[in-house]
């Protein structure tokens, strides 16, 4: 399995995602610079967390307009799986690859803590290996998901909500922590699976997301 991890100036979970892909999952992991074209032959694209472009203006707004994002959109259109984590989720929304937007948390402060998630669907390529409830850290100040009424009805109606907070930390509508695209190949989530994938970090629930992707791709290692 060959994963591309996109690096924007200000990304700061890029190394964590590369490391989980390589050392924990045993995949081939390729750093992809935001100004360059996406390398060919990828099985998965990860948009990592961080503060791309300082999160100035709006989280993810400037990164969403980077040259590489045109390639990511084409990759997604062709059915390639794309996982956006935290800032990656914000970028996907800003780029229009996922609906909605992430606003500042309702209490206006950054939250770095473990949360429990309900996995709403376990028949998708992002969740097939997940148990019903998983624990993962969040670390964000702009994770308060918003979609207008129609969009929300569509997300819920079509079963596109993948992860829901058991206790809403940030004010997200319908307790949404992660969603996927209609086509089912683009997923954005605020919690950090890569921070919960090794015993030494105290929790391995996040690994199930990566394991799901490996299963779906069928490329094995």
């Amino acid at each position: 399995m060959k994963t591309g991890v996109i690096i924007f100036p200000g990304s700061n979970c890029d190394q964590d995602c590369l490391d989980v892909s390589e050392r924990v999952m045993g995949w081939e992991a390729i750093p992809c610079w935001h100004r360059d074209a996406l390398p060919p032959g990828l099985d998965l694209v990860i948009l990592p967390g961080g503060f791309s472009h300082g999160d100035y203006l709006r989280a993810g707004a400037i990164a969403a307009r980077a040259p590489v994002m045109a390639d990511v959109a084409r990759f997604a259109q062709a059915g390639g799986p794309v996982l956006g984590i935290c800032n990656g989720f914000q970028i996907l929304c800003e780029a229009g690859l996922l609906p909605g937007a992430l606003r500042i948390n309702r209490d206006l402060i950054f939250h770095c803590e473990d949360v429990w998630l309900r996995v709403e669907r376990r028949d998708t390529r992002f969740t097939s290996a997940c148990p019903e409830r998983i624990q993962m850290p969040i670390a964000h100040r702009e994770g308060n998901y918003y979609a207008d009424r129609e969009t929300l009805a569509r997300l819920e109606g079509q079963g596109l909500v993948l992860f829901r907070y058991e206790e809403n930390p940030n004010g997200s509508v319908n307790d949404i922590a992660g969603i996927m695209s209609e086509a089912g190949n683009v997923c954005g989530m605020m919690p950090h699976p890569e921070r919960a994938s090794e015993d030494v970090l105290g929790c391995t629930d996040g690994r199930s997301v990566f394991e799901s992707l490996a299963l779906a791709t069928g490329v094995g290692n």
């Binding site: 100036p9 490391d19 961080g50 503060f51 770095c112 670390a139 100040r141 950090h192 970090l201």
Partner: protein, 759 residues
């Protein structure tokens, strides 16, 4: 007392002082620059002429207390600074310790007290930016940040705004750059109300061969600057840090510096790439005193000269004078020395990371620091005179005020124990600091193996490289000023010992010390007396424990309304954990485990949080109440080596040291993981002292029941007291025959935030 505070100088342009070249240097102007007449005479003599206004500005910052350590250098020489593992000791941007396997750790602590008092968010944020630069400048990737904060009591109406701003500023910068803030402490005391303390520490990891030094090597090499453009902000920041906080001092500061963590992240990546690819011969950040300090220090360390042309320095404001460009403390700027064939590659790296990059001058062999502007030479000074010849003072030294004896110690009846414990747990200094650290991204870089609140120190996993195993380091920073206020020498010893003990309790061997010494004006004999004694105590403890000091920072002039803060040394320490199996946390592990207290019996209540709660806090400018007991340093060394050895032998299941709040609070904190404890025996016969006395230091551990005899035998062989005091249970905490307190009740008290319960 201090002539600088009675006739303050002002930020030259704003206050109508001529900073152009034809300015004439009057005695007033010299005083306004914080230089003494005899210092000025030395300058004239060395230059053989009157300095220009630019040169005067340069001398004033380079010879400020902040940069030159005029009052502290002779005292600091008493600290042990060498050891087998020390790759870089004091003098560089950060100390570096070899941890084997080709890896080294750079670490350093800094204060940003005065800027944070003026503008808490930006002051704290730029403090974080500055300490990060000190670390990556050495070639190390920052892997952890720590913060030590001191405020006035939360009931003081001004404090909430300051605490909020400082915590938000640390979070704002650290989170964005992606360096986890993993530990620290926060204390509230009236003594710090007028002059809050914001100390930050950063820890970075590097391959030993990537070590980079801040030296301007090789005449003919280019001097490159990259990062943000230079603006009129923070002019004379170093001097600002070197005097008391007063209305006048605030007024005369240039524009407030604003941190740009996004630029901070870009120069971090660019710097590490430049170093890793061997593109720089020397590199240094522009911190205090900006371009002035970085150029002089780099030339001074290498024994070379440096020549720069200010017209090439990217500027944010129009029409800046040479004086302003040289003294600006605009953030996020770096200075590198590059061999001519590598310039192009170096500039490419800067471009890729979108952080500018211009050649502004060259290294020379003249030993002179030469500055040109608009075609004229505006400064031409021997670099070594600026860095090596700064005056040294031996201030008058008087013993600090002795504590007032306590008279009768407060007694606590058995029926009052639980309520006392809950009140202490909820007190701002002892209560959980979750309200702060949950706003810090402490998990980025997937390294937080022991997180805030889980152990006495944070444990950071360093990813194994090239298929090698993970490595683990532990970091902590601490400083209980209440002990130092009572006995500066013992307080200094205790501060070092507490940091080391915190490391030992998570299973780490202490390897190196950094520190930040926050004191009042050294020109007050009793302040200097406390400083000298405190550093002496620190040195004794470092020697006894065998840990060298690799760097630190002195912050003098922490005063308000003419009253010094309590002497507040902060100790940062680095430890190494050889085996992941040795990582130890504070929470009990299993019902039935035996709880032991290692160390001597408690003595007295002087300096304790209990006494603060019952008799009130130490008040600024008055002698503190209650003495502290003599401290057996040798015994402490034995206690720590026993604890570490027992952990390494797999005996210890949990460990937590006794600090603020005493044994009862320590036990309660061990219960927060979910298991309870039944404590049968309170050591000693006075309940207050036994449960709430904080000294001498002790460690509470839990072991499997069958291992308890072995631990006791080991302790006896090492000459350490070991008392079985109780047992881990599935219920709550019951202390020496008192009713059980439910864990939820302990947790609720411990999670009290500083402003809860206040109007």
């Amino acid at each position: 007392m201090d002539d600088r505070s009675s006739s303050p100088w002002r930020w030259p342009r704003e206050w109508g002082i001529d900073v152009t070249l034809n300015a004439s240097i009057t005695p007033d102007l010299v005083t306004q620059h914080g230089l003494r007449p005899e210092e000025y005479e030395g300058i004239v003599e060395r230059l053989g002429r009157e300095p220009s206004i630019v040169e005067l500005g340069i001398y004033s910052v380079m010879w400020s207390e902040h940069c030159a350590y005029k009052h502290s250098r002779p005292v600091l020489r008493g600290l042990p600074t060498t050891g087998e593992r020390v790759l870089v000791g004091p003098g560089e941007n950060a100390g570096v310790i070899d941890i084997g396997g080709g890896l080294a750790i750079a670490f350093k602590m800094e204060s940003h007290n005065h800027p944070s008092a003026v503008e808490p968010y930006q002051g704290a944020a730029t403090g974080v930016g500055g300490i990060l630069r000190d670390i990556f400048t050495m070639g190390a990737r920052p892997v952890a940040m720590l913060d030590n904060l001191r405020f006035g009591e939360p009931s003081d109406p001004a404090m909430q705004h300051l605490v909020e701003g400082v915590v938000e500023g640390i979070a704002g910068y650290g989170n964005c750059v992606g360096v986890p803030t993993v530990a620290g402490d926060v204390m509230f005391d009236p003594g710090h109300a007028g002059n809050i303390l914001v100390n930050v520490m950063c820890v970075g990891v590097m391959r030993s061969e990537d070590l980079a030094l801040g030296q301007a090597q090789g005449p003919g090499n280019a001097v490159l600057c990259f990062g943000s453009a230079t603006g009129c902000d923070g002019i004379h920041g170093a001097t600002f840090a070197s005097e008391e906080l007063s209305e006048q001092a605030l007024e005369r500061r240039g524009a407030v510096q604003v941190g740009d963590p996004f630029m901070g992240k870009r120069i971090l990546e660019a710097t590490l790439e430049l170093i890793r690819r061997g593109l720089v011969a020397g590199i240094q950040d522009m911190g205090a005193a900006g371009l002035t300090c970085s150029t002089c220090e780099m030339a001074g360390r290498a024994g070379t000269g440096i020549e720069i042309d200010l017209d090439r320095v990217p500027q944010r404001a129009e029409g800046m004078s040479a004086y302003e460009i040289m003294l600006s403390e605009s953030q996020e700027r770096m200075l590198a020395v590059v061999e001519p064939p590598k310039i192009e590659a170096a500039l490419e790296v800067c471009e890729r990371w979108e952080c500018g990059g211009v050649v502004i001058g060259e290294v020379t062999d003249t030993g002179q620091m030469v500055v040109r502007h608009h075609g004229a030479t505006v400064a031409d000074i021997p670099a070594e005179h600026l860095t090596g010849a700064a005056p040294v003072y031996h201030p008058e030294d008087a013993p600090p005020a002795a504590p007032r004896p306590l008279g009768e110690t407060p007694r606590i009846r058995r029926s009052e124990v639980n309520a006392t414990l809950l009140r202490l747990l909820a007190s701002p200094t002892i209560a959980s600091k979750r309200w702060a650290w949950r706003r810090y991204d402490h998990m980025v870089q997937t390294g937080a193996a022991v997180r805030p609140g889980e152990g006495d120190a944070a444990v950071i996993r360093l990813r194994g490289r090239d298929g090698g195993p993970d490595r683990f380091i532990a970091v902590t920073s601490d400083g209980n000023h209440r002990a130092v206020a009572r006995d500066a020498r013992i307080g200094g010893q205790l501060a070092v010992c507490e940091a080391a003990r915190n490391l030992v309790c998570v299973g780490a061997e202490p390897l190196g010390v950094t520190n930040c010494l926050n004191f009042g004006s050294p020109e007050r004999p009793e302040v200097f007396g406390a400083f000298r004694r405190c550093v002496g105590g620190m040195a004794e403890a470092c020697r006894a424990l065998g840990v060298p000091v690799t760097g630190g920072n002195v912050s003098f002039y922490n005063e308000a309304d003419g009253i010094a803060i309590p002497p507040t040394p902060m100790i940062g320490m680095l430890g190494l954990i050889e085996d992941a199996a040795h990582i130890t946390r504070m929470a009990w592990r299993e019902v039935g485990d035996v709880i032991c207290m290692l160390g001597p019996l408690p003595e007295g209540l002087g300096g304790s949080e209990l006494l603060k709660m019952t008799a009130g806090p130490d008040l600024p400018g008055t002698a503190p109440l209650g003495t502290i007991a003599p401290f057996d340093l040798e015994g402490e060394v034995r206690l720590q080596s026993l604890t570490l050895r027992a952990i390494r032998e797999g005996l210890i299941r949990s460990a937590h040291d006794v600090s603020e709040g005493g044994l009862a609070v320590t036990l309660a904190e061990c219960c927060l993981g979910g298991l309870g404890a039944r404590i049968d025996a309170a050591p000693g016969d006075d309940l207050a002292v036994a449960l709430f006395g904080e000294l001498p230091p002790r460690v509470v551990v839990s072991v499997r029941a069958e291992d308890a005899p072995r631990l006791c035998a080991m302790a006896e062989a090492e000459g350490v007291d070991c008392a079985e005091i109780g047992e881990v249970t599935g219920g709550g905490l019951s202390l020496a025959g008192c009713e059980e307190i439910a864990i939820d009740a302990l947790r609720a008290a411990h999670e009290t935030r500083p402003w809860e319960g206040l109007a």
